[in-house]
Symmetry: C2
Subunit: 86 residues, 2 copies
C-alpha cells in the first residue's frame, strides 16, 4: 500500500498535469474539486502528484465535475491547453 | 467485489470498445494480449465487457502492448478507427 513507492506510468504523469490545468481553469482548489466530486479532501492533491493510480470510473467523475471529456485527462499536455481541441 | 454489479461509466464503455478495436487491429486474441502484457488470461475479456474498472497504469500497459497511445483508449470510438488521428 506504499503509494509513493509505485512506479509512475506516463499516463499517470499526464493525468496529473491535465487535471491540474483543468482544475485551475475552472477556478477550483484541490479540496473544492475533491469534495464536490465526492472524494476525500486530499484525493485531488494525491492525484496531481501522481501518487494515485486512478481508475476509469473516478477519472470520469473528475472530468464530469470539471466539465471536460475524460479523454482530455489522458491527452498530451499540449493538447489540453488548446480549447479548440474540445 | 461483485464486478457485474458495478455501474459502468462512459469511460469504461469507451475503453472496452477501443481496446477491442485496437486488439483486433493488432491481430491478437484476448488471451494473447492479456498474457503478453502480463495480466491473467481472462483480464482482457473482462475489460472488453466493461466489468473491470481499469487503472491508469494498467491502461498504459495495455496501450503499450498494442502500440497505441493511452489517450486513444479513452477517445470517442469514432476517433479510434481513424488512423490519421494518431
Amino acid at each position: 500500500m506504499s503509494k509513493s513507492a509505485e512506479k509512475k506510468s506516463y499516463g499517470r504523469v499526464r493525468f496529473a498535469a491535465n487535471l491540474r490545468a483543468a482544475r485551475l481553469a475552472a477556478g477550483l482548489s484541490q479540496e473544492d474539486l475533491a469534495v464536490r466530486a465526492g472524494f476525500h479532501r486530499t484525493y485531488v492533491s494525491q492525484v496531481e502528484r501522481g501518487l494515485t493510480n486512478v481508475t476509469i470510473d473516478n477519472a470520469c467523475r473528475l472530468a464530469e465535475f470539471l466539465g471536460i471529456d475524460v479523454a482530455m485527462l489522458f491527452s498530451e499536455p499540449s493538447a489540453t491547453t488548446d480549447p479548440s481541441s474540445r
